[in-house]
Symmetry: C2
């Protein structure tokens, strides 16, 4: 079990360039009644199963297990709610910190999010120039919520949404 | 991934004797919106995480992973719905088949269930003399439902319920 502490930001598309080809992520969620997040992920050629408690402030408990790719593919197909989250993840090391930038496709096309994992809630960070506004507290940007209410569903009132 | 095909029976307490001390099982469920079963189990000193699709007839797809005991204990504590399922499991090999007999405690005290896993839905089996009636199709006896509606909640109308 790990405690996950992360902050999340919108990325300015005019200032950011992909550093490489990125890794294709496909992930799905099984929605629960008690706020626990159950996530199945295929990242490149690896499968993962992750459970997270409800977020409290910036932190939550996370349990992640590597599982056979075929199992993950099958679970995405038969168990997970639609739409699946499809994105490319880029990793960028700046100083001691690794930024993860997610470029979304499918029903969330147009969304570009940067996440940074911290070791404490008080840790200060320098923001790269391509960082736009912080959305850590905006639950619409949780990947699990991007299934229920995708970026392109018209209620988002953003320049990319159709 | 495995396909689980099982039949379930009540056990006649006057005719059945535990063959050994059994193994203590503690398990919990995270209830989902789409009928997928998410189960966390501690069996003796081992932890497991299991996902099963909705049952169709006698069969369902099952994905089970061994996880660290400490993770399983923690998930039971912070993620799983109450009450937890507490039972002793006894295994009894008769011919080629292994019967699993579950003696429930806590909110399901008094319930004694036998399960047998089959290789096909058509497989015929010989019933031991201590088998009472079949309850495979009675969803009240699913362990996940014994959380929502435990055997001793008074609505069961059984001789053991308080």
């Amino acid at each position: 079990m790990a405690i996950e502490i992360e902050r999340k930001f919108l990325v300015n598309k005019n200032l950011w360039q992909p550093p490489d080809d990125g890794v294709i992520y496909r992930q799905g969620y099984i929605h629960t009644h008690n706020g626990t997040t159950v996530r199945v992920r295929v990242a490149g050629d690896q499968g993962f199963m992750t459970l997270k408690t409800k977020t409290q402030s910036l932190s939550r408990s996370e349990f992640e297990y590597s599982i056979p790719l075929h199992d993950a593919e099958e679970m995405l197909m038969i168990m997970c709610d639609r739409p699946l989250i499809e994105k490319k993840r880029y990793k960028l090391k700046i100083g001691e910190l690794v930024w993860e930038i997610d470029e979304f496709f499918g029903d969330n096309q147009g969304l570009l999010l940067a996440e940074i994992e911290l070791t404490s809630e008080e840790q200060t960070i320098s923001l790269p120039p391509w960082i736009d506004k912080e959305v850590t507290e905006d639950s619409r940007y949780y990947n699990s919520n991007l299934v229920k209410n995708p970026y392109n569903n018209g209620q988002w009132n953003n320049p990319d949404s159709k």
